[in-house]
């Protein structure tokens, strides 16, 4: 077993992870730029996609937001959003979307043995 003494400061890091070649090279792999159509990289379009996802999930599982708004509405300042959330809840229930989500959650909770699911 032989350890060769390292003479330079750069060698000093040999035991722990090596020094990163550059901040760019160490960036998460997700950060690489690619040449794309400018319209597809527009912030507005991305924001709309994210809002659409959140909106659809809200419609599919409306109970969570109603409970959340109800919890935070002690002074009545969230009355308008709460009314909207209840409207969405009713619409989701009327179209049967809410029941599908609830049934899936119950089924998975039963599989996993989660009483509170």
């Amino acid at each position: 077993m032989e350890i060769t003494p390292q003479k330079s400061a750069a060698d000093a890091a040999a035991v722990l992870p090596p020094r990163a070649p550059s901040p760019e090279a160490r960036d998460a792999p997700t950060m690489k730029a690619a040449a794309r159509d400018p319209a597809s990289t527009s912030p507005l379009r991305r924001i709309l996609v994210i809002y659409a996802i959140l909106g659809l999930v809200w419609f599919a599982f409306p109970g969570g937001l109603v409970d959340w708004l109800d919890e935070h509405n002690s002074t009545g300042w969230l009355a308008a959003p709460l009314a909207l959330a209840r409207g969405i809840d009713a619409a989701s229930a009327a179209t049967g979307v809410k029941q599908v989500g609830q049934s899936l959650r119950k089924r998975f909770a039963a599989i996993i043995g989660d009483d509170e699911g």
Binding site: D11, A33, A52
Partner: protein
């Protein structure tokens, strides 16, 4: 305000619109981002905002002084003062009671009865990560890696930026501050890949980590004496998957959220359970912590420049302090010491003639992987146990059969398999899927995102446990 909550969903939706609408007015955008970050921090405990602001102001002033001082002794003094202040805050809130407890134990053992009282302070959220960022800035300025910022807003935003504030990744000042200089270009970031990062992070946290914790790991570690030998062994493997799923989920979401806001964060995990050797493990696990410890502790201690003994000492000190950073508990110190000793052994082994001759063979690699993985799992046992007594009881439980039957829920093996899958999927898969998603229209992107989130919400438990690294 945890990531997988309605609170954060609403907060993020608001932040996203606000930040991009102000992209052309960079200074105003930074002020708004700072205000959002402070609001995010205040959502836990607004009283600790003062601490966050103090850390930012200390870093800002010390940075300016270090940059301006011509004489080296003055620069060194300012650096030492800044680091001491940052570490002093951390020591007071995180370690003082632990230190007092050790002094009292020692005094009682010597038959003394000193009148020292515990300070009983609440540990502020994110104090460790805050300290790492503050030290990174002033040391980088001292080393000339970046010029001191003239903008207190930039420094405060660097330390408090909400995606990394609570549990990292640890972003270096020289990586982040230049990004604040100009408006961000959304074209620099893959929307599809970042969406996958966030959705994958939500799945790892809300499904894999939460269920493993609640249904199996927590009960076993709370009272190991009630469980069979098989359950005790399986709970260690389950915890290895849980902590990876939990922590990597946090950093994946943080990286994705920051990227959607236009800022780059460094990678923090790279399939750590594939590691061949402990050195390799630390190149893959919490990479931003290991590189931070290397650059700001191990190398200043001398690294491996002064012979084998000094190298071993430096490695042990680095890992002991790294262990202690996780919390004021002997279990973390033991965990750090185990990793330190393993790194010393790994370092010697990889330079040995035996390794040079046989180390590249397939069997040697399989043995290397198995040994590394099982060592890491064994060390997690100490990391997870609430006390040394509890860890000892756990190990004795594995050693001696109490005759109990296994009560491991049937869902545990599939969840462990899911976690294991994340270690063997080729790393470029996400980039390829992300690129495919980028090429689709907005409707397809929204439909895909909704479908994944729908599955996650349908499978998630009704309440989410805090992230493990939230407490560090």
């Amino acid at each position: 305000m945890l990531f997988p909550t309605i609170d954060f969903g609403l907060f993020f939706a608001l932040s996203l619109a606000l930040v991009w609408s102000l992209n052309s007015q960079n200074n105003l955008k930074k002020v708004v981002l700072l205000a959002l970050s402070l609001a995010f921090y205040a959502s836990w405990n607004w009283r600790f905002l003062l601490l966050l602001l103090a850390s930012g102001v200390i870093s800002y002033l010390v940075g300016l002084y270090v940059d301006a001082a011509a004489a080296r002794p003055f620069r060194r003094f300012a650096l030492a003062l800044g680091v001491a202040l940052d570490l002093g805050i951390l020591a007071y809130f995180k370690y003082l009671d632990f230190f007092i407890a050790q002094v009292l134990t020692l005094a009682h053992a010597l038959g003394l009865n000193p009148s020292i009282a515990f300070v009983n302070v609440t540990l502020p959220v994110a104090i460790s990560f805050m300290t790492f960022h503050a030290i990174s800035y002033i040391v980088d300025v001292y080393r000339g890696r970046l010029a001191a910022s003239r903008s207190p807003v930039d420094i405060l935003l660097y330390i408090s930026f909400f995606p990394h504030l609570v549990a990292g990744p640890i972003v270096r000042a020289h990586e982040f501050l230049p990004q604040l200089a100009s408006p961000r270009n959304p074209g620099d970031f893959s929307f599809g890949e970042n969406m996958l990062l966030i959705l994958g992070g939500l799945f790892k946290k809300m499904v894999i980590a939460n269920y493993l914790a609640v249904r199996f790991v927590d009960p076993v570690f709370t009272d190991p004496s009630q469980f069979s030998r098989f359950d005790l062994v399986m709970a260690v493997y389950a915890y290895a998957i849980q902590i990876y799923a939990d922590f990597s989920a946090y950093t994946d979401i943080a990286i994705g959220v920051a990227a959607l806001l236009g800022y780059r964060f460094p990678q923090n995990f790279n399939q750590p359970y594939r590691a061949l050797g402990i050195g390799d493990f630390w190149r893959r696990w919490h990479m931003t912590l290991s590189t931070w410890l290397r650059d700001y502790l191990y190398i200043p201690l001398g690294g491996n420049r002064h012979g084998a003994l000094a190298t071993a000492r430096n490695l042990m000190l680095t890992m002991l302090l790294g262990g202690l950073w996780h919390g004021a508990n002997w279990t973390f110190l033991i965990w750090g010491a185990m990793h330190g000793a393993a790194l010393v052994a790994d370092h010697s082994w990889r330079r040995s003639a035996v390794f040079a001759r046989y180390g590249a063979g397939r069997i040697a690699k399989v043995a290397d992987w198995a040994l590394t993985f099982h060592f890491v799992c064994f060390a997690w046992l100490f990391f997870r146990s609430p006390s040394l007594d509890s860890a000892t009881q756990y190990i004795l439980g594995i050693w001696t059969d109490n005759g109990a039957q296994s009560t491991m829920p049937g869902i545990v093996p599939p969840l462990i398999a899911c976690g294991a899958l994340t270690q063997i999927v080729p790393p470029q898969t996400r980039a390829a899927l992300g690129a495919m998603l980028d090429d689709r229209g907005a409707v397809a992107q929204a439909a895909f995102g909704f479908a994944i989130l729908y599955v996650v919400v349908a499978m998630a438990p009704s309440a989410s446990a805090p992230f493990i690294y939230f407490q560090f």
